[in-house]
C-alpha cells in the first residue's frame, strides 16, 4: 500500500500507461543488489532510488579516489578516501529517505558471490572487470535471479538483460573472454548512458512493462552516437546456463 506522500512523489511515473499504483507497489517491494559502487553504479543506483525501489544493496570494497570523480557522480571531492559504499549510501539516502540502502564493503569473490546475491530479486552488473561479471552471471543463473549487464570503454558501452533459463547469458555471448585488467579509458557520459539503460531495464522488469533487452547485446557508440545490436542466442552448450534448458 502506498502512502499519500508516495502517491505524490511518484505521481508522474504512476501516470505511465501500464505502470500505475500497482507498478509502484512492485518497485517498493523489490530488492535489488548492485554489484559495484563506481561509474555504472552511480547512475543506476540514483535512478533506482529515485524511482522508489524498496531496497538496494551496494557491494564494493574500494575507496574513493580523485581519478574516480570524472564519472562516479555519487562520489564528490569531500569523499576522497572514504569507502565508496558509505559515500554512495549517504547520497542515496538523502535522495530518497523511503528507500532502504545497504552498504556492503566487500570484494565479490567466488566464495561470497552466492551469499551476496541470495534473497535478492535482481542483480545489476556494475563491475569494472569481466571475471567478476562471470561470477555474478553464474550465481544469478544458479539462484534464478535476472541479471542486468552493463560495461563501458571510452565512449563505447554495452548492455544486456539476462533472464535465467530463458535467454542468452553473459557466457553465451562472451564465452569466458577476458580483457586485460588495466586502467581503461572512460568519460562519465558513457556509464551514465549505460547505467541509465540498466536502471530502465530493472524498472521495466519489476513493473512488468515493455520489451526487455534480452537475446541482444546493445552496442552504444558514443562517438558517432549510434546504437546497434548484436543478436545472440542461448547456447545449449553454455558452461553457465546450458543445463538450464529453455529456448535457444
Amino acid at each position: 500500500m502506498l502512502t499519500t506522500n508516495e502517491l505524490e512523489r511518484y505521481d508522474r511515473q504512476i501516470m505511465i500507461k501500464g505502470f500505475g499504483e500497482e507498478g509502484q507497489e512492485k518497485l517498493k517491494r523489490a530488492r535489488v543488489i548492485i554489484a559495484g559502487g563506481g561509474g555504472l553504479s552511480s547512475p543506476s543506483s540514483i535512478y533506482l532510488a529515485a524511482a522508489g525501489v524498496g531496497m538496494i544493496r551496494i557491494v564494493d570494497n574500494d575507496k574513493v579516489e580523485l581519478s574516480n570523480l570524472n564519472r562516479q557522480v555519487l562520489h564528490w571531492d569531500k569523499d576522497i578516501g572514504r569507502r565508496k559504499v558509505d559515500s554512495a549510501a549517504e547520497k542515496l539516502k538523502k535522495l530518497n529517505e523511503g528507500v532502504e540502502i545497504e552498504a556492503i564493503d566487500e570484494m565479490i569473490t567466488e566464495a561470497n558471490v552466492s551469499q551476496l546475491v541470495a534473497g535478492f530479486d535482481l542483480v545489476v552488473d556494475a563491475m569494472d572487470n569481466l571475471p567478476t561479471r562471470y561470477l555474478l552471471n553464474k550465481a544469478a543463473l544458479e539462484k534464478d535471479i535476472p541479471f542486468f549487464h552493463g560495461a563501458v570503454y571510452g565512449f563505447e558501452g554495452r548492455a544486456m538483460t539476462i533472464i535465467p533459463g530463458k535467454t542468452a547469458c553473459l557466457e553465451c555471448v562472451y564465452h569466458g573472454t577476458t580483457t586485460p585488467e588495466e586502467k581503461f579509458p572512460v568519460i562519465g557520459v558513457t556509464p551514465a548512458i549505460i547505467g541509465c539503460i540498466q536502471a530502465a531495464e530493472v524498472i521495466k522488469y519489476i513493473v512488468g512493462i515493455g520489451e526487455l533487452l534480452t537475446n541482444r547485446l546493445l552496442i552504444c557508440d558514443g562517438l558517432n552516437l549510434k546504437f546497434t545490436e548484436l543478436k545472440v542466442k542461448k547456447d545449449p552448450n553454455c558452461k553457465h546456463c546450458g543445463h538450464l534448458g529453455g529456448k535457444e
Binding site: G36, N129, A151, E156, F184, T228, K231
Partner: protein, 91 residues
Amino acid sequence: MGIIKINIPAYMQSFTNNMEVVEVNGSTVGECLNHLVKQFPGMKKQLFSKNGNLFENIIISVNGESAYPEQLAKPVKEGDELNIVLIVGGG
C-alpha cells in the same frame, strides 16, 4: 564473390582513413577481414594477434548476428554486412 560491407567502429576509424564503412570481397568472414587489412594495413594489429588469430576480445557479427563459433570460417554472401564488436569490461 560479391561486395560485403564492414562497419568500422569509431575507435578504429583512424586506421581506415576515417571511413565508417569499407567495402570488401570475400566468401568467408576471414577473407573479408583479410581484404580489409589489404586495403588498410593498420587494421591488422587491431584485429589479429602476432600468430594471426582474431583477438579473443573481438566478436564479428554478420547481419547483426554473432559469427561465433565459426568466426573467420563463417560463410558470407554479397550484400552481407559485418560489424566488429569489441568486448569491453569497464564499469
